[in-house]
C-alpha cells in the first residue's frame, strides 16, 4: 500500500493535478505486474554496473515485475557518439548486456537495441562497444539511421510537439526499458531519462528549433512509456557533454539509479551533477504536466551501497 501512501502524500504536497495524472499512468503500468515493486526508485553506489543493476532490480522486485514470458522488449541505451566506452558518452556496454540477460531470464521472446545516433551509426554502434555486448547477450541490434524505420505517431496534449516519427521497434515491442547514461549537456545542462527519447525519433532538428525543453517534456506524454528507467552513473561526463573531449571530462561515480518515474529519475540525476533540478527547464515542465514527480523528498527511495 505504499504506492497509495505516496500518492496521498503527493497530493498533500500540493501537486494534485500532476499526481492525479501520473497515477493514471502508473495504474495502467502496474496493473499487469504480478508483484508490485516496493520502491519508486532504487539507487545503488559502489559496485560494477552489472552488480549494481543486479542488486537494484532485485530490490525492485526482479525483472519479472516488468518483463513477462513471451514479451518483446526494447532496451534503449544512449548510443549517440562514436566514442570509446571509457569516455562515457554512451551507456556502459556491460550494463546493457546485463539488462538484456535479465530480460531473457524472465522469458523475453526477443530483445531489441537501437539508438538514432548523432555520429555515423555503423562506427558508433561498433566503437561504443554496445553492438558487441548486446549481440553477445542475444539481443537484436537494429539500425536506425534511415527515415524508413520511423512511423508517425500523435502526441495528444503536446504543447509544441504534437506528433513525431518514432522507430518502428518502439511500436512493435511490448516493454520499453530506457537505459540512459547521465551526462552533462551543453544546452539543456543535463541528459538522462527524458532526453534519451531524442534517440527514439527521427527529426531531432524540429525539437531544437521549436523550444527544445518543451518538446522534451511533450514527448514524454506519448503513451508508450518505459516500464523501467536505468540511469547509468558509473562513469559520468560532468563537462563538455554530451559528446566530451577527453577523459578529463569524466568522473567515476560508480552509481546506478533505477526508477519507474522518469521525471524523478532526471531530478535525482541532476543532483548527481550538482544541479538543482528546477534549473533544467524540461524537468519542472514535465513535472507540471503531470508526467512524473520531481520532488524526491516525497518519493520512496531505497539507497544502497555495495
Amino acid at each position: 500500500m505504499r504506492r497509495r501512501d505516496f500518492f496521498k502524500s503527493s497530493v498533500g504536497a500540493g501537486i494534485a493535478a500532476g499526481a492525479a495524472l501520473s497515477m493514471g499512468g502508473y495504474q495502467k503500468l502496474w496493473a499487469s505486474s504480478p508483484v508490485p515493486p516496493g520502491y519508486d526508485m532504487v539507487a545503488v553506489m559502489g559496485g560494477t554496473p552489472e552488480a549494481m543493476f543486479d542488486l537494484a532490480i532485485q530490490e525492485m522486485g526482479g525483472i519479472g515485475a516488468f518483463v513477462k514470458k513471451g514479451q518483446k522488449v526494447l532496451v534503449k541505451p544512449n548510443i549517440g557518439w562514436d566514442v570509446i566506452p571509457e569516455l562515457a558518452a554512451n551507456t556502459n556496454p556491460g550494463l546493457v548486456k546485463r539488462i538484456i540477460e535479465h530480460c531473457f531470464k524472465a522469458g523475453a521472446k526477443e530483445v531489441y537495441v537501437f539508438d538514432h545516433t548523432c555520429d555515423n551509426w555503423v562506427n558508433t554502434y561498433k566503437n561504443s562497444g554496445i553492438e558487441k555486448a548486446a549481440k553477445a547477450a542475444g539481443a537484436k541490434v537494429v539500425p536506425a539511421a534511415s527515415e524508413n524505420y520511423y512511423q508517425l505517431i500523435e502526441i495528444p496534449g503536446g504543447v509544441k510537439l504534437k506528433s513525431a516519427k518514432v522507430h518502428e521497434v518502439l511500436l512493435e515491442t511490448d516493454v520499453f526499458i530506457n537505459v540512459p547514461i547521465l551526462k552533462d549537456h551543453n544546452s539543456t545542462r543535463m541528459t538522462a531519462c527524458l532526453k534519451n527519447n531524442m534517440g527514439l525519433v527521427w527529426d531531432r532538428g524540429y525539437w531544437h528549433s521549436n523550444n527544445l525543453h518543451q518538446c522534451i517534456a511533450d514527448y514524454a506524454l506519448y503513451e508508450k512509456k518505459p516500464a523501467l528507467n536505468v540511469i547509468d552513473c558509473y562513469n559520468v561526463m560532468v563537462k563538455h557533454g554530451p559528446q566530451g573531449v577527453s577523459k578529463e571530462d569524466v568522473v567515476q561515480m560508480k552509481s546506478l539509479i533505477l526508477t519507474t518515474d522518469w521525471v524523478a529519475g532526471d531530478a535525482a540525476a541532476a543532483k548527481m551533477l550538482n544541479i538543482e533540478p528546477s534549473r533544467i527547464d524540461y524537468i519542472p515542465i514535465a513535472h507540471k504536466m503531470g508526467l512524473g514527480n520531481m520532488n524526491l523528498d516525497s518519493l520512496n527511495i531505497k539507497r544502497l551501497k555495495m
Partner: protein, 519 residues
C-alpha cells in the same frame, strides 16, 4: 601460340578484374579493406602516373609496370586490366547478339588525326593548365564514375528493397540506406560518357579505345615496338577474313597479312576463330618493314598543341577566382571557399591531382563527399567537395585519404586528421534559434567533437553558442546539425590551404567521486 586458350584465359582474367572493380565502387558497407583496394589500383595507368609525379617513389610505379608490359606484350593492359575496356567487351558482346558481327567489324583505317590530337591535347592541357581533360577521358575515372553514379544507386535500391523485406521478417542484417546528394548536373557528364562509350562499344567494339582514349593511344604508340604480337602465318592463311570479322579493334588487314599493333588490344579473338591456325601470338620477327614518316601528321599534332594553348587560356578564364573573405553576412551563409576533403593539403594541390574517379565519394561512410558542381569552378566539376548540408565529416575516419589512387588525397594518420583544419567555423548570431526564438538549442555545440563550438550564458537561463576557431577542424558537424532554414546559423568556411588546428585543452573536473547520494 595458336590455341584458343589465350582467349579463354583473357576472358576469365578480365571477368575477375571487372568484378573486383565493380565491387570496390559499390562497396557501400566497406567490406573490402583499403589495402586491398590499393593493390587493385596499383596498376591503373593514369592514377599511378599522377601519384608517381607527386611522390616520385617506385611504390607508385604501377604505370611503369604497365609500360614494360606493353613493351613486352602489346596492349594487353586494355584487355586484361582496364575496367572500362573490359566493360566495353561486355557491351560489345551484347551488341553482337543484337547485330551480326560482320556488319559491325572488319578492317578500318585508324582515326589517326582524332586519336593523336586527343592524346596531345590531354597531355598539353595537363602540362600547361591542369588535369581537366585527363579527368574527362581517363578510362579508370570514367569507369569509376559510371559505377558510382549509375550502378551503386541501383545496388542501394536493391539493398533497401531487401532490407525492407528482411525487416518485415524481423531480421536486421541489412540496413536501409538513405541516398544523399542526387544532383542532376553532376550526373550529366558521367551520363554522357557512359552513353558514348556504351554506344560505341555496342556498335563498333573498341572504337572508343582506339579513337578517344588517351591511355589507349599512348599504349598503342608503345606497342609499336612490342616484342609479342599477333602474327600471320602466310603459308597457312587462306584469306577467309574471319579474323577481321571478329576483331573488336577493326585492326586486321587480312588481305595484306597485317595487324595494326597500335590498335590491337590482344583479345586473341582472331586466334581462336581462325580455322587454319594461321594466326598466332608470339615474338615479332626481326624482318623490318619499311617505315615512312608522315610529315603532315606531325605538323598537325604540333598545330593542335598550339591551339590548345589558346583553349586552355580560355578555360582558365572560366576558372573560379580564389575569393577573398568578405565581411560576415548576417542572414545568408557567406562561404568564401569550398571545403576540400581531408588529406587534400590545399585546394591547389588537390584539384591538380584529382581525376574525379569518385572512389572516395563511394567509400565515404557519411556521404559527406559529393561531386562538386561549381564549388571548384568549371575545371573542378565532379571532384569531391565536402557538403555539410547533406552530412558531416566523421571525426574518427580517414577512409577517403586511404583509397585515393592519385594521392590527391594524401594518407592521414587518424591523430593527424583530428588536428587538420579543413575550414573554420563561423557563427551567425542573428540566425540562431537562441536569439530569434529565445529558446534553448545547442545542436551545434552538442555535435562539435573538439568543443570549438561551446555555449556561454545568454539571457535568463539560456545559453548561446560561441566559437573558438583555433581548435576548429572544420568537420561541419555543427553546420549539419544546425536546424535553422533556409540559412544555417553556423557554417564552415573552407581553408584554401589546410591548417593545423590546436589541440583542445582540457582540465580535470573539480567534481569528485561522491561518497553519499546527493538526494
Amino acid at each position: 601460340m595458336t590455341s584458343s586458350f589465350l582467349r579463354k584465359f583473357r576472358i576469365g582474367f578480365s571477368v575477375v578484374v571487372l568484378l573486383c572493380f565493380v565491387f570496390i565502387f559499390v562497396d557501400y558497407r566497406s567490406l573490402i579493406p583499403e589495402s586491398y583496394k590499393n593493390y587493385l589500383l596499383f596498376l591503373q595507368f593514369i592514377p599511378s602516373l599522377i601519384k608517381f609525379l607527386d611522390l616520385k617513389t617506385l611504390a607508385a610505379g604501377g604505370f611503369m609496370v604497365v609500360l614494360l608490359l606493353t613493351l613486352l606484350s602489346g596492349r594487353t593492359y586494355c584487355s586484361f586490366l582496364c575496367p572500362l575496356g573490359i566493360t566495353q567487351d561486355l557491351f560489345s558482346r551484347i551488341g553482337g547478339r543484337i547485330k551480326k558481327r560482320f556488319k559491325r567489324f572488319g578492317f578500318r583505317k585508324p582515326f589517326t588525326i582524332v586519336r593523336y590530337t586527343l592524346l596531345a591535347a590531354t597531355l598539353a592541357v595537363a602540362i600547361i593548365w591542369g588535369i581537366y581533360l585527363v579527368t574527362l577521358l581517363d578510362p579508370y575515372s570514367i569507369f569509376g564514375r559510371s559505377v558510382t553514379y549509375f550502378v551503386k544507386p541501383v545496388v542501394l535500391l536493391l539493398n533497401n528493397l531487401f532490407s525492407g523485406i528482411l525487416g518485415k521478417l524481423d531480421n536486421y542484417a541489412l540496413s536501409h540506406i538513405q541516398i544523399k546528394g542526387f544532383e542532376l548536373v553532376a550526373y550529366s557528364i558521367p551520363a554522357a560518357f557512359l552513353l558514348l562509350v556504351g554506344l560505341l562499344s555496342v556498335i563498333k567494339g573498341r572504337l572508343y579505345c582506339n579513337m578517344i582514349c588517351p591511355v589507349g593511344t599512348l599504349l598503342g604508340l608503345v606497342s609499336k615496338i612490342s616484342v609479342f604480337r599477333i602474327k600471320f602465318n602466310v603459308s597457312k592463311c587462306t584469306r577467309c577474313g574471319r579474323c577481321s570479322v571478329v576483331c573488336k579493334s577493326s585492326c586486321i588487314d587480312f588481305l595484306n597479312y597485317r595487324v595494326d599493333v597500335s590498335r590491337c588490344v590482344d583479345c586473341f579473338n582472331c586466334i581462336s576463330t581462325c580455322p587454319d591456325k594461321a594466326m598466332s601470338y608470339g615474338v615479332v620477327s626481326l624482318k623490318k618493314s619499311g617505315h615512312k614518316t608522315d610529315e603532315s601528321k606531325r605538323k598537325f599534332v604540333a598545330q593542335s598543341v598550339l591551339m590548345l594553348f589558346g583553349l586552355s587560356q580560355y578555360a582558365k578564364a572560366q576558372e573560379k577566382k580564389v575569393p577573398v573573405p568578405t565581411s560576415e553576412s548576417t542572414v545568408k551563409e557567406n562561404k568564401t571557399f569550398p571545403v576540400c576533403p581531408p588529406g587534400a593539403g590545399s585546394f591547389a594541390d588537390f584539384t591538380k591531382d584529382c581525376i574525379a574517379c569518385s572512389l572516395c565519394i563511394t567509400a565515404c561512410p557519411n556521404q559527406v563527399l559529393q561531386p562538386s558542381l561549381k564549388q571548384y569552378g568549371i575545371a573542378g566539376l565532379m571532384q569531391p567537395v565536402m557538403n555539410y548540408h547533406k552530412s558531416f565529416c566523421t571525426y574518427n575516419c580517414v577512409v577517403c585519404t586511404e583509397v585515393c589512387p592519385t594521392y590527391a588525397l594524401k594518407p592521414l594518420e587518424l591523430e593527424a586528421k583530428k588536428l587538420t583544419q579543413l575550414g573554420k567555423v563561423i557563427f551567425i548570431k542573428d540566425n540562431c534559434i537562441v536569439k530569434t526564438e529565445k529558446t534553448a538549442c545547442g545542436a551545434c555545440s552538442e555535435a562539435c567533437p573538439t568543443k570549438a563550438v561551446y555555449m556561454i550564458p545568454y539571457e535568463g537561463n539560456l545559453v548561446i553558442p560561441e566559437t573558438n576557431q583555433d581548435i576548429c577542424i572544420g568537420c561541419g558537424h555543427c553546420e549539419f546539425a544546425c536546424p535553422t532554414v533556409p540559412y544555417k546559423a553556423i557554417f564552415v568556411d573552407g581553408n584554401p590551404v589546410h591548417l593545423a588546428a590546436k589541440k583542445p585543452e582540457n582540465v580535470e573536473s573539480e567534481m569528485k567521486t561522491p561518497v553519499e547520494f546527493p538526494f
